[in-house]
Symmetry: C2
Subunit: 271 residues, 2 copies
Amino acid sequence: MADQETTPRGTLIIIGGHEDRDPKGKRTILREFARRSKGGKVVLATVASHQPEGYFDEYEAAFADLESGELVELYVEERSQASDRDKLDVLDDAAGIFFSGGDQLRITSQIGDTRIEDKVRRLYERGGVIAGTSAGASVMSETMLVQGTSRETHRIGDLHMAPGMGLVRDVIIDQHFAERGRMGRLLGAVAHNPRVLGLGIDEDTAIVLEGDRFEVIGSGGVYVVDGSHVTYCNVAEARAECSLSMHDVRVHVLSSGDHFDLKARQPSHPR
Amino acid sequence: MADQETTPRGTLIIIGGHEDRDPKGKRTILREFARRSKGGKVVLATVASHQPEGYFDEYEAAFADLESGELVELYVEERSQASDRDKLDVLDDAAGIFFSGGDQLRITSQIGDTRIEDKVRRLYERGGVIAGTSAGASVMSETMLVQGTSRETHRIGDLHMAPGMGLVRDVIIDQHFAERGRMGRLLGAVAHNPRVLGLGIDEDTAIVLEGDRFEVIGSGGVYVVDGSHVTYCNVAEARAECSLSMHDVRVHVLSSGDHFDLKARQPSHPR
């Protein structure tokens, strides 16, 4: 059974970074994560960070009164540790995993194709909650954005992508979106292959994905870049450093309460 | 004749700011302006600036070897000067006017509805070249963007618009576009009334508009935000400070050589 492609029964909470973690704040996103992990054990995976010190204390304080269960940290200093019994055991009875920020390449290079990743995937398949913020958000997709200039229209050749964890297919995710002026690079990513839908998530904003549908929560916006009807694009022809040209892109700007169907590529706003 | 609505025979060069002005640089945009003013007298209107000192010297050096004609400065310290004979005379035999940057409200509050503005309009109508960069770009449209937070998804209520010079109808223009992460606020502006087409122009990039058609020149991108098929928008319902929601926006990313027809709202890429 485990080897069959199964439809995950869990929830992904994909966060654009800088979610409210102030113990006195609203903490809409962390609250949702706690609610969905139903008081069960939560693993804070700080593996994206080169210096994970401090993350645990900050999240522990943030979650303290949110009725979440025990919070334990999972850190993998080197890839060789990714099959350590004690690291694996941490995940056994977890209800949720929360990937904190840092460098998405650290997540994939340290735990990609390891037993830890396998356990994350199984947790998702059996109904757990997998959250990721910033680098932890980017890594959710099949192909992930690693690097690319912000605050600039995409220049041909200026994007670094890599295989992600692939918990969600056919999308590419960018974070700190409006705050870092990343529309240019997300459009550039989608231009490479409009099969992938671009999702740009603002800070303190998240999508809560179950099956093929997500809802937006938090204080900012989520941008959906749909290139399926693009009529012209210069990524394959133009010289490196040329500025992107792409005609007829469909864009949705979503905010808290909006829904989106990834299969139908269709937003909706419940009244 | 002068009171009749006539189709302008001139050219608008609308620049996203920071156009290359290095006397040793390519200066694509200034070169195009010089070419189109055919060696005739060029007026540098520095009226957008509170401190216009230095602008003239910089543009004079930039235009020096571009075969443009005499360069003269027009500055209006106070609105009362906008009917001074010597200020008006400057414009009489001009082939082109170049509005430099600063504050768009200074342009409209100092020369809006004055004889100077009338002369600018007539020059455009009879075939002259009107260029504007940064604030000088924003002011070209009928309703202009004055203020709004960059690097943030538009929050309901957070946009300051005002009547512009109206040399081009049914568009709203934003500048320093990708560089300052202004997609959020341009989408916000279009959300207010999709009758206006949003034009976001990057630095060192311009549109050259004749009649209803423009071509893109320069090193960056031009974003066209077309809200005519929007299916849902929350600007009228949501509370102030809520994040914008707008579904089904059509966006074009254009680069050097791309054309756009404002009436048909259609881009094209000549082969």
